[in-house]
């Protein structure tokens, strides 16, 4: 009796391991909780949408493509941990992520060491891809991104300050992250190259809520404009409190403030502020209209977030490569540099570093509580 039972059990186990479809996974590593979870969640939705659309028009190829999401909580330490978990999963063929430059930088080394391609939809610090051109870089080129970088964004803002706002004396604030400080330094470089002066260059803590003391001091310097590099958690409060201490100078903020959340936090004080944006938001690109409609149909009642188009594009590029070369880490990595993809962002092609050749920047100004593109 016992023998029969054991035999049945063995059969049952074997039956479970019949010939199965192979699964290829695309890892999506984003901040899904924490301060900027809303942006991460939006990107995740966009990636899911891209996958679902491609699944509909794909024929049976003997394997199934899945998304595997990871949460880095915008914390660099967590990001490295996530990266290590991703590379140890053999079914992962490519990574979409991370969101923050501060997370992408350390995580990118883990992916490079394991020859796994990573495409960032949002990290904008130039160092991320630049490190691959360094003579000491011993890995293949694994890092790519579909969004424009901070050196382009920061110098655009510097040029705008001097040439359009006619501001030569600027106060600069950043949030001490790889992203915020990086973009603020690029702004300062351009400002000084054009003959302007940086009256101050201050870092603030991301978790702080009270910037009154700092802003009171900057107010005494009589700046002609204020630049902020960082995300909306700090940006909204800084704008609000700057107007609170009576500072009326125009303010220009980096693109992480291009979010409804910024308008909510800053309230009426946001009026008149400028925000630079990397590339063109999906709402302005004719090529993106179809994406926005599909997104709204798939997620009714959810606002399309600023980076969602980039997440969709990164995912679509990976999927198109899987179509072309099959679900294989090495082949995808080899095919990435020569990608020329027509999609939501217009045409994406990668340069020497792995950055997109799409260098468009859009400037927005807050009018009547809305971001309006400045012509």
């Amino acid at each position: 009796m016992k023998k029969v039972f054991c035999g049945l059990l063995a059969l049952a186990i074997l039956a479970g391991c019949g010939p199965k479809e192979k699964v290829a996974r695309i890892a999506v590593a984003l901040p899904l909780t924490g301060d900027i979870a809303a942006l991460g969640q939006g990107l995740k939705r966009a990636c899911t949408l891209a996958l679902e659309e491609s699944a509909q028009n794909r024929h049976s190829t003997g394997f199934r493509v899945e998304i595997k999401t990871f949460d880095d909580r915008s914390d660099p330490k967590e990001a490295v941990d996530v990266a290590n978990r991703i590379v140890s999963d053999a079914s992962v063929v490519a990574v979409i992520g991370h969101f923050n430059s501060g997370c992408s930088l350390p995580a990118s080394l883990v992916y490079a060491r394991h020859h796994l391609a990573m495409i960032s939809p949002a990290a904008s610090n130039p160092k991320l891809t630049l490190q691959q051109l360094d003579p000491s870089w011993r890995y293949p080129k694994t890092i790519f991104r579909v969004n424009t970088t901070d050196d382009i964004q920061g110098s655009y803002a510097g040029e705008f300050a001097v040439k359009t706002l006619k501001a030569r004396r600027a106060c600069i604030i950043h949030d001490k992250t790889a992203y915020g400080q990086g973009v603020a330094e690029e702004f300062r470089k351009r400002l000084e190259a054009l003959g302007g002066t940086a009256l101050s260059f201050d870092g603030v803590n991301v978790a702080d809520k009270d910037f009154n003391a700092l802003l009171t001091r900057l107010h005494e310097l009589h700046p002609q404009m204020i630049y902020f590099g960082g995300d909306y958690a700090g940006g909204g409060l800084i704008v609000r409190q700057a107007r609170g201490v009576g500072e009326k100078a125009p303010m220009v903020l980096s693109e992480a403030n291009f979010d409804p959340e910024f308008l909510r936090v800053a309230g009426a004080a946001a009026e008149g502020c400028y925000v630079t944006f990397l590339g063109s938001p999906t709402s302005l690109l004719p090529s993106a209209r179809r994406f926005v409609d599909a997104y709204r149909a798939r997620y009714p009642g959810v606002e399309v977030k600023a980076y969602d188009g980039y997440g969709y594009e990164a995912m679509a590029i990976v999927l198109s490569l899987i179509e072309k070369v099959g679900p294989d880490r090495v082949k995808i990595l080899a095919a990435l540099p020569s990608v020329a993809y027509q999609g939501v962002l217009g045409e994406t092609r990668f340069d020497q570093k792995g950055d997109t050749l799409n260098h468009r920047i859009t400037l927005f100004q807050v009018k009547d509580g809305q971001f309006q593109p400045v012509k």
Binding site: A37, A38, N205, K209, A213, V265, G267
Partner: protein
């Protein structure tokens, strides 16, 4: 310039002081650090916002906010009471560390409850009334700062009178001094402990509502930093000492503002400066500025 930074510092400090009172009063009677107090503060902000949004169709903004802050006062007090009853009282007879761990647990629980059930994003806190700016001898102060100063100093004054001039206040002081003897004298010690949680929670809740109004946005994790700062303020003034907590909060707020406002790039260094001064003070006065040195109770 220095005067202007003093105004900023006083506003910030009076909020710290309001929160610090909750830490210090509970420590006074229980010798326990209530780490969940920062979430009581957060709950006050959320209660006031939710009540305000409910009432706004029927009342004018300032009336609605008045009701909202009163309910934040009551609601947070009630929450503190519930926390004490279920998370700390059963552990009254265990080691000193057990309630501390329980407090950290409650703190995480309340934060995640806010995260899951209310919002994982920051919520905009409406500007309830038109902010007026007053110039006075080169110093600018706005109506919000005046409101915060008046409400917090007023509440602290009332608390001070309550503790020092009423029978219940005497009972609180007696319990803090020696709870065993107090209970032998017929003081209902359990009730008095609950009362200190109630008072601390109420003040923390008001601080939360004021904080929301002042900064314009609230979030499930908003309590963490002010909580740490207020706890520091309580230690600075002498933990267990009520006037000490008030002074500690104000001193810390002013120090932070002066550091951030007077030193170039000071906003990066303000916490380093404020906390270095704290360490220095504690090296020379381990009992804090106003604390009395008492031998360890056994």
């Amino acid at each position: 310039m220095i005067l202007q930074q003093l105004v900023n510092g006083l506003t910030l400090g009076s909020l710290y002081a309001l929160i610090a009172l909750g830490y210090t009063m509970v420590y006074g009677v229980l010798l326990m650090i209530n780490f969940a107090h920062s979430e009581i503060f957060m709950s006050g902000a959320f209660i006031s916002l939710l009540v305000y949004q409910r009432l706004i169709p029927w009342l004018s903004p300032s009336e609605a906010w008045l009701v909202a802050i009163v309910l934040a006062f009551g609601g947070s007090a009630l929450l503190a009471l519930v926390v004490e009853r279920f998370a700390y009282r059963p552990l009254r007879r265990s080691s000193r560390l057990t309630p501390l761990i329980s407090a950290i647990g409650v703190s995480i629980l309340l934060q995640n409850a806010g995260f899951l059930f209310i919002s994982d994003q920051s919520l905009a806190y409406p500007q309830v009334f038109e902010i007026r700016h007053y110039q006075w001898g080169g110093v600018e102060i706005n109506s919000l700062q005046i409101l915060i100063l008046v409400v917090s100093l007023g509440l602290m004054g009332i608390l001070h009178l309550f503790v020092n001039r009423t029978r219940l206040g005497t009972a609180i002081r007696a319990t803090a001094q020696d709870s065993t003897t107090a209970s032998l004298m017929g003081i209902p010690v359990n009730g008095i402990i609950a009362l200190t949680f109630l008072l601390g929670g109420a003040l923390g809740g008001v601080a939360g509502a004021l904080n929301g109004l002042y900064y314009g946005s609230i979030k499930y994790n908003m309590g963490f930093i002010p909580g740490i700062k207020a706890f520091t303020a309580a230690v600075l003034g002498g933990i267990g000492n009520i006037p000490g907590a008030m002074w500690g909060g104000i001193i810390l707020g002013v120090l932070e503002s002066l550091a951030a406002g007077l030193i170039p790039n000071g906003s990066e260094w303000k916490d380093v400066i404020a906390f270095s001064i704290l360490i220095l003070i504690l090296l020379f006065r381990p009992e804090g500025l106003f604390g009395r040195h008492v031998p360890e109770k056994l």
